[in-house]
């Protein structure tokens, strides 16, 4: 079975209409938890200001890949990675990488909405306060800008000082997106951002992802293949720690090059 799994050169997918600079370049990347190898020889380019979706069955390593991009795996005791993971031509896996600055540049939205038990305003202002000395008025503007970007402003503008925990889950997740973009990241990582939301909230977030792609590079991990096909430009299919296929989303879902990809996207396994 494993003979089918090969690494296509990501640059070779001609179906991309325009050539964009790549925001993230991954080359010869291997990740481990202790002695267990989670990811093997990953080569991937994520183009700038587009949505890249990671799909694949559970345990295939796509979340691990995502969490290495902003080094969230640092807090896991025995996690380590070797290889090249470049964010705009700078390897982020080196010991001297400024993880704090990296995470400012690479925002993250998690699987379950995790607003701080503070007010809506304080949630959005949390990140800017960590990184910038900023006046009250420009912080107000920044909070409004972020909430507008996250399509939440109209719903919460009258209750910015109320607890974020009062919002619905869908609103909370959009608040988390607003919080992430408030620090001015270049890349947004989303780890199954809709998996705990109802269909209505999911579609709002998907619309939002599409709009945000105009300004940010977005990498989204999803279990939901419809979601990947709806809101991503490119898709990478992970299987057992390797990338089976990566390409233009439309092409990957309609004319997959690999048999295994076809089996997965048509729901035969996974």
């Amino acid at each position: 079975m494993s003979t089918e799994i090969v690494n296509p050169n990501p640059g070779s997918s001609e179906s991309t209409p325009e050539t964009r600079a790549s925001a993230i370049t991954i080359h010869g990347f291997n990740a481990y938890y202790g002695d267990f190898q989670v990811l093997r020889d990953i080569d991937l380019e994520v183009p700038e200001k587009q949505v890249m979706a990671f799909i694949g069955p559970s345990g295939c390593g796509k979340s691990t890949m995502l969490r290495w991009i902003n080094r969230m795996n640092d807090s896991i005791q025995n996690a380590r990675a070797v290889g090249e993971l470049c964010l705009i031509n700078q390897n982020v896996l080196t010991a001297k990488t400024d993880v704090v600055e990296l995470r400012r540049k690479v925002g993250m939205v998690f699987q379950t909405p995790n607003p701080f038990p503070k007010s809506i305003y304080e949630n959005v202002a949390f990140g800017p306060r960590l990184h910038f000395k900023i006046s009250k008025s420009s912080l107000d503007q920044l909070v409004e800008w972020s909430l507008r970007k996250a399509a939440l402003w109209d719903e919460v503008k009258d209750r910015l000082n109320r607890s974020a925990l009062q919002l619905s889950r869908g609103q909370q997740q959009r608040l988390c997106i607003a919080r992430a973009i408030a620090v001015g990241p270049e890349v947004l990582l989303m780890d199954e951002p809709c998996s705990s939301l109802d269909p209505g909230s999911t579609s709002r977030i998907e619309d939002l992802i599409f709009e945000l792609a105009a300004q940010f590079t977005i990498v989204i991990v999803t279990h939901n293949m419809q979601q990947a096909s709806r809101c991503s430009n490119r898709t990478a299919f992970f299987y057992e720690g390797t990338i089976v296929e990566v390409g233009d989303t439309k092409q990957l879902f309609t004319r997959p090059k690999m048999k295994r990809t076809e089996a997965y996207v048509t729901g035969k396994f996974g």
Binding site: S75, Q77, R104, M108, F110, F116, S163, C176
Partner: protein, 412 residues
């Protein structure tokens, strides 16, 4: 009566019936057990109230302990002493306890030796929480009162080895002439060597009077005639007059070792509650969901920023509740306080500095209930009422804080 179930029960036929009966017996036993506890508690409380309520008046609250005058005695010094003990104890135990909890819970490490160190600390804390407080009392005596004998022990009429905030003077009285109604005055001069308790005046020296005015002290020989001018008389002494050492303490008076001081007792109480504070804070910190830590780290917070801005504020209600409950344990502790300060019932200096010893509520209750004068028994009961009310108030505050924060987190 005609109910078939009831008929069967009377015969004791089915297993279900027997099971039901066993259940009944069990629940009645539990009810009795809880009833006994409540009855004992109510009896205790009513006895104490009956005995002590009569003595509860302003005289009791404002007065100090007077030997053999139970009707005039009171607990004002004990109240102040307990409050100060609580402040010292909280100021020391809370920062150290919360800091330790944060370290143990949040700062994981891959260093093998640091991991062992953490394991050792955790093991010790878990064991220390169960140690009787009198053991801490003994530890407090060794560690704070005598400081392992590193310094000369504090003794009456001796200057401690290390001391700040104490001004030593010699005091003497100038000549007087009672026949002419001219009183002598007390004059002072600073002690160059405080170790000497007395100094003999042989030479004229500069001294200060009560108002702090500098004046020249004349020394007269015994065969010299006394001056008959009052101003000259009251600035003169006979050669060989002995000045005695006199000490004035500043607010910040401090010496090592700490001796039987309220500071030593407060530090000992801090040791008593430290394990509890750590454990409670650890639990509160552990109950903060990891998703919040991820959120803060994902936004580029450093570990310290994550702890300070996310974990601690979220864990704060739990930490504060635990802190107040451990403080209410501290305020009721008699054994370590008596071990460190000795059961003083009254002080003459009203707790002017941290180096004074002072009565506290539990030690006063203990001493009074053992007093040979039987009337102090009622005062002890009254003091118990005061202590219980204080404890009740503290627990109430703990509940209110938790309630307030829960509300605030929900609604804001």
């Amino acid at each position: 009566m005609s109910n078939p179930m009831e008929m069967r029960e009377r015969k004791g036929l089915t297993r279900i019936d027997r099971r039901g009966r066993r259940e009944d017996i069990f629940s009645i036993t539990c009810l009795l057990a809880s009833g006994i506890a409540v009855v004992i508690l109510v009896t205790l409380l009513s006895t104490i109230v009956a005995r002590g309520a009569g003595s509860l008046n302003t005289q009791f609250l404002m007065g100090v302990h007077l030997e053999n005058q139970p009707e005039m005695s009171g607990i004002s010094q004990a109240l102040v002493g307990s409050l100060v003990l609580l402040l010292i104890c909280g100021a020391v135990a809370l920062p150290i306890g919360i800091g330790t909890a944060v370290y143990l819970e949040e700062f994981s490490t891959s260093n093998r030796w640091l991991q062992r160190w953490r394991g050792l600390v955790q093991l010790n804390i878990n064991n220390l929480a169960g140690i009787p407080s009198i053991v801490y009392g003994i530890l407090g005596v060794t560690a704070f009162v005598y400081m392992f004998g590193m310094f000369k022990p504090i003794q009456v009429n001796q200057v401690p080895q290390f001391e700040v905030g104490a001004n030593y003077f010699y005091q003497l009285k100038t000549l007087e002439l009672p026949e002419l109604d001219i009183p002598g005055q007390f004059v002072y001069f600073p002690a160059s060597d405080p170790d000497l308790a007395f100094r003999t005046i042989t030479e004229p020296i500069d001294v200060y009077d009560r108002q702090g005015l500098k004046l020249k002290l004349n020394v007269l020989d015994p065969d010299q005639p006394l001056p008959n001018v009052a101003s000259q008389l009251t600035t003169s002494v006979m050669r060989g007059t002995v000045a005695s050492r006199f000490v004035r303490f500043n607010r910040g008076h401090f010496h090592l070792p700490l001796g039987r001081s309220i500071l030593a007792a407060g530090l000992t109480l801090a040791l008593v509650i430290l394990p509890v504070v750590i454990i409670v804070s650890q639990q509160a910190i552990r109950s903060v969901p990891d998703s919040l830590r991820d959120a803060a780290l994902g936004l580029g917070a450093t570990r310290w920023q994550m702890v300070y801005r996310t974990v601690l504020p979220t864990a704060l209600p739990g930490i504060m509740t635990g802190a107040i409950l451990s403080m209410s344990r501290a305020i009721g502790e008699a054994a370590p306080v008596i071990a460190v300060m000795g059961g003083v019932l009254a002080t003459s200096r009203n707790l002017a500095t941290m180096m004074d010893s002072s009565p506290s509520l539990p030690s006063t209750i203990y001493k009074w209930s053992l007093h040979h004068h039987i009337a102090y028994d009622r005062l002890a009961a009254a003091a118990i009422i005061v202590l219980l009310v204080t404890l009740l108030l503290m627990n109430l505050i703990a509940i209110l804080i938790r309630h307030f924060y829960e509300k605030r987190l929900e609604l804001l």
